[in-house]
Amino acid sequence: MADKITREEVEHVARLARLEFSPAEVDALTGQMDTILAHVEQLNELDTEGVEPTSHAVTLENAFRPDAVTHSIGVDKALKNAPLHADGCFGVPKVIE
């Protein structure tokens, strides 16, 4: 079976997803993703030329509501689960190097 995905690609995707793996984990993931991607390759048996994609099974329309202030949970509750907060803001590590 032709390789669908390489170690390097797995490492690249991991960076995009903000995940890191040990070399052994990258090996295992490469094999598993390769098997799964080889399986999903079967979709190419189907001619989907001209078929509209379905994003939701139920046809959705924009859901509008009046532009009015409604109930919200407020700053204190919103911050309560934050690992770090100060002065009504979320706290994060240094952003600018």
Binding site: Q32, T35, A57, K77, K80
Partner: protein, 485 residues
């Protein structure tokens, strides 16, 4: 007979007639959990004090005589439903100490109707799994045989009902996560039509597929629970503003003259002979009750697993981007800046299956692969949905197995993700098509494990499913069997 042997509708009646109290019922439920959950591990959090307090309030309300439908009955929720003031983990380390600041809509509705929430149920982490082995809190075990999986991802929701810890629970179903564990545990589980129940306050896995639904010991009780949570919600822009019928009104209408379709593609090699036999028997029961059973074709069935695992992982990778250690959830900060904090938080917070799906989804959505994988899957989704719409021109509902085999052993499929994914083959098409489906017990394998069958219905035809399922259930005793646990 113990109080916990009562079904949901029996509890409701006896509470109203003053034969029992909610405090007694709730204490019995908590005692049953204490006695059985060391073996089952169905609960992540038990809300003992809150439950007793709610039960006292329920008894006062019942004494006044104006109590709403579910007043006083103990129920439990998959730990994916956010609950104000009660820890909600989604069975993930990354939400290990998350205390939500508000109730989701389904939870609010249950509380308004007087239900007593006794606890939060174990599940596969972020609802990703078919065996409940992907939980940071350890696997749930099957009440019929603790060496077997209960199914997933709503494994706790099915096991707690089967083991009579509570009469009913809520789960979520993205690719079979209500119906498959219901089948493996011998209870009834219903996945409503996409948009029927609000997803507001339900931790998102794959937003175009996720749907909330009930699990209970019989069809009537599932109908009662669906009635409680169904309906349009302005807070969920994908909920559908179509009237909610009275699900119990037509329950006893029978199936005479009804047309039931058997999709030939579901009765193929790989289907366990005992499962096939049990489902064949169901067909005979329906024929004997005057239903017409005909073959239908759902020609794209064999592509459903591929289609599903591209769409579900793509949506998951996007939804789970929010777990970054900033606004809620755990943070792991190696002290080397923001990016490293994100990466350390996510790498240590997520379990293996969740990471695998984020990786697959990120890959499927990444530059250069989007058209080949995600867009292609969305087009195949259209073909799968059209299969069902065409079949429903011919028949009123569709009858299939739920899972290819009875519950497998713990550890059997954990090493091979693709084999685990393939075990969802009969359930995930309904999520892709957005239609409703229900799993009901219909037999027992030689080793005693429950077998279920599935009814699939037209969009928003939950009442048809309930009536069809109820007619079968009245002729059987599978749903009254009690596991020894």
């Amino acid at each position: 007979m113990e109080l916990t042997d009562l079904t949901l509708h029996e509890m409701i009646r006896q509470l109203r007639e003053g034969e029992i109290t909610s405090v007694a019922l709730t204490e019995a439920s908590l005692a049953r959990i204490d006695a059985t959950d060391k073996n089952l591990n169905a609960f992540i959090t038990i809300c003992r004090d809150e439950a007793i307090e709610a039960a006292r309030a329920a008894d006062a309300r019942l004494a006044q005589g104006d109590a709403p439908m579910l007043t006083g009955v103990p129920v439990a929720l998959k730990d994916i439903f956010i609950t104000e003031g009660i820890r909600t983990t989604c069975a993930s380390k990354i939400l290990a100490s998350f205390i939500p600041p508000y109730d989701g809509t389904a939870v609010r509705k249950l509380k308004e109707l007087g239900a007593v929430i006794v606890g939060k149920l174990n599940m596969d982490e972020f609802a990703m799994g078919s065996s409940n082995e992907n939980s940071a809190h350890g696997p749930v075990r099957n009440p019929w045989n603790v060496d077997r999986v209960p199914g997933g991802s709503s494994g706790g929701s099915a096991a707690c009902v089967a083991a009579r810890q509570v009469p009913a629970s809520l789960g979520t179903d993205t690719g079979g996560s209500i119906r498959q564990p219901a089948s493996h545990c011998g209870v009834v589980g219903l996945k409503p039509t996409y948009g029927r129940v609000s997803r507001y306050g339900v931790v998102a896995f794959a937003s175009s597929l996720d749907q909330v639904g009930p699990l209970a010991r019989n069809v009537r009780d599932c109908g009662i629970m669906l009635q409680a949570v169904a309906g349009y919600d302005p807070a969920d822009s994908t909920s559908v503003d179509t009237p909610v019928p009275d699900y119990l009104a037509g329950l006893e209408g029978g199936v005479k003259g009804m047309k039931i379709g058997l999709p030939q593609e579901y009765f193929v090699s790989g289907l366990d002979p005992e499962v096939k036999h049990a489902v064949d028997q169901v067909v005979e029961v329906y024929r004997s009750m005057g239903a017409e059973v005909v073959e239908v074709s759902l020609p794209h069935t064999r592509y459903a697993v591929s289609c599903y695992y591209l769409i579900a992982t793509a949506e998951a990778s996007s939804n789970l981007a929010r777990y970054d250690g900033v606004r809620f959830g755990e943070r792991v900060d190696p002290g080397k800046g923001l990016k490293d904090m994100y990466t350390a938080t996510r790498s240590q917070g997520f379990g293996d299956e969740v990471k695998r799906r984020i990786m697959l989804g990120t890959y499927a959505l990444s530059s250069g692969y989007y058209d080949a994988y995600y867009l292609k899957a969305q087009k195949v989704r259209t073909l799968i949905r059209n299969d069902f719409l065409a079949a429903f021109e011919e028949v009123d509902c569709i009858l299939t197995p739920v899972a290819p085999t009875p519950a497998f052993a713990l550890g059997d499929k954990t090493a091979d993700p693709l084999q685990m994914y393939l075990s969802d083959i009969f359930t995930l098409s309904a999520n892709l098509a957005g239609i409703c489906g229900m799993s009901l017990p219909c037999g027992r394998a030689e080793d005693g494990l429950p077998i279920g069958f599935q009814l699939l219905g037209k969009p928003f035809a939950e009442a048809d499913l309930l009536r069809t399922g109820y007619a079968y259930e009245q002729t059987q005793e599978w749903h009254t069997a009690r596991p020894v646990i």
